[in-house]
Amino acid sequence: MSATRKILEVKGISKRFGGVQAVSTLSFHLNQGEILGLLGPNGAGKTTAFNMIAGAIRSDTGEILFEGRSLANLKPWDICRLGIARTFQLSKPFGGLTVLENVMVGSFVRTSAEAEARAEAEKVVDFLDMGAKAHTDADDLTAFDRRKLELGRALATRPRLLLMDEVVAGATPNEAGEMVHLVRKVRDLGITILIVEHVMKVIMGLSDRVIVLDYGKLIADGPPKDVVRQPDVLKAYFGERYVDARA
């Protein structure tokens, strides 16, 4: 696998909400097969950028290319069909459906046959190690299982690029460990991953490369170890005085 092949190219996207410039002319790319961490303090524009890629909101400027194809004017369901799946910050399973049935909603995007969708969903449920809960009503799951289920639904659409929003928020250390393990397993399937995360420790261990946003602008791009030492990044996270004190 050539690490240089770009699966996603974000070119100068911006978004303005009234008086707030949430994202301004942001450009970055994802290489095939990598895990890219998208970092930044609260309100930096991470989720806005994320939602623009997923087609949930439209960018004011620039363009986004997936495997060379522009995503302009595509709706979320079109983008899903192209091969980009996403998870949400707040996991809301489809109530009244079991775990397996929730995953089937995802697999129906590649087939209209119920038996095929079910077989595909069963594989995904096994992959998540949730086989014992396959027939549990999704409403009865714990918060962390809901998160796993959401990942499963996304995987069932057979994406080539997975966008993950805050995967370990609110998880116990054990659960966070399990999620990190799962994300690695997903990457081993050949799926490229963009992950937005607050928890530094998680993203540092998981990402091949991280980019950092602050006030809607890209302030760093590189391997995790290097990026955390950059003064701009420290300033964004800890403030000017922290950086001055260290100097």
Binding site: A54, A56, K75, P76, W77, C80, R81, A85, R86, F88, K92, P93, F94, G95, G96, L97, T98, E101, M104, V105, G106, F108, V109, S112, E114, A117, H135, T136, D137, D139, D140, E150, R153, A154, A156, T157
Partner: protein, 344 residues
């Protein structure tokens, strides 16, 4: 679980329904039974989209009315057999539902409901005040009668006794329940429930909510239209108030909600419970207290919402599970988001 109760409770009910005309000869009672089945059919048609996608339409009577008028007019003006007329009427209702649904499905909750009421009422008021439209004699509020052809005539959809009408609507009810069962297991059924549960989440999984809601609405309108055509044939009379008034829409919705939205058997249970109550009240108290049956429906609805927000099918399901003394149902009976939270 749902399939189980459909069969365990549904099959004996079907056997009973099939046998009733063998014992009951009184034509008033048979007619009332046919009306119970009619309302079960209409509620099931309403449930096909509203129960699964979790939106409350109070405009479905328009589909029944339009199809009824198409059927009656085709028969009286062109001599087309009502059997074909029903299909044409259902198709007209389905066609009409697409632009209506396209405009309304982007609205949620009360806004959706109000818009559907407005649509149906506009159509009804227009019909009540239009005697002639492009040469078609609609006869306004007076309505249209279907002239008797004399005796039983299958092609003319006219029969001497009530028994044929009874079995026709019973067959239609079984048909709509079968259609619902097929839909539940299909991609459409999964997608509707996903849209009901979390619209954004469904979109991200490749579901175009408008497209699938509209597909289900068109099928639902078609089925409702068949019912409306049947209703017109049963009485050999159609007028805007009876056949497309808001009362009919409210009946469909309340029966489904009380019985259990988003289930195969729920709407029929609701009709079985509510229609006889309404009928008995009308027959005994009659004209001295008009609208009392609606007050009772309202009370039943309140009780259902308080004690069985997901319909009376839920306690029945529990009873069924309890009798078998089996493991706690992980599936938790029917978890349709009926009136609660997201459903509304």
């Amino acid at each position: 679980m749902r399939t189980k109760i459909t069969f365990v409770l549904g099959l004996p009910l079907l056997a009973l329904a099939l046998a009733i005309p063998l014992f009951v000869t009184d034509s008033y009672i048979l007619h009332s039974m046919a009306m119970v089945l009619f309302f079960a059919y209409m509620a099931s048609s309403w449930n096909f989209v509203c129960g699964y996608v979790g939106q409350l339409s109070l405009g479905h009577s328009a589909f029944a009315g339009v199809a009824g008028y198409v059927t009656v007019l085709l028969f009286t003006q062109l001599g087309v057999t009502p059997w074909l007329g029903m299909l044409a009427g259902g198709a007209s209702a389905a066609l009409l539902s697409v632009p209506v649904g396209y405009a309304t499905f982007r609205l949620k909750g009360p806004y959706f409901t109000l818009t559907t009421i407005a649509f149906a009422e506009i159509l009804r008021i227009w019909l009540e005040n239009t005697d002639d439209f492009l040469g078609i004699p609609l006869k306004g509020a007076q309505g249209l009668t279907v002239p008797p052809v004399g005796g039983s005539n299958f092609l003319a959809f006219q029969f001497d006794g009530k028994v044929p009408y009874y079995y026709i609507i019973l067959a239609m009810l079984v048909g709509v329940m079968a259609a619902t069962a097929v839909m539940e297991r299909s991609r459409l059924g999964f997608y509707l429930k996903a849209i009901r549960g979390d619209r954004d989440g469904a979109e991200a999984l490749g579901v175009d909510p408008t497209r699938y809601s509209l597909t289900a609405l068109a099928i639902s309108a078609f089925l409702t239209g068949l019912g409306g055509a049947y209703y017109a044939q049963l009485f050999r009379y159609i007028n805007p108030e009876r056949n497309m008034g808001i009362d009919l829409s409210i009946d469909m919705a309340i029966m489904t909600i009380v019985g259990g939205q988003g289930t195969i058997l729920g709407p029929t249970l609701g009709a079985l419970l509510l229609h006889p109550i309404g009928e008995m009240v009308r027959a005994t108290i009659g004209g001295s207290f008009l609208g009392l049956h609606l007050i009772l429906y309202g009370i039943m609805l309140m009780l259902a919402v308080i004690y069985f927000p997901k319909g009376i099918i839920v306690p029945l399901q529990r009873l069924l599970d309890g009798r078998k003394g089996k493991r706690a149902v992980t599936r938790g009976a029917v978890k349709a988001d009926a009136l609660e939270g997201k459903g509304q």
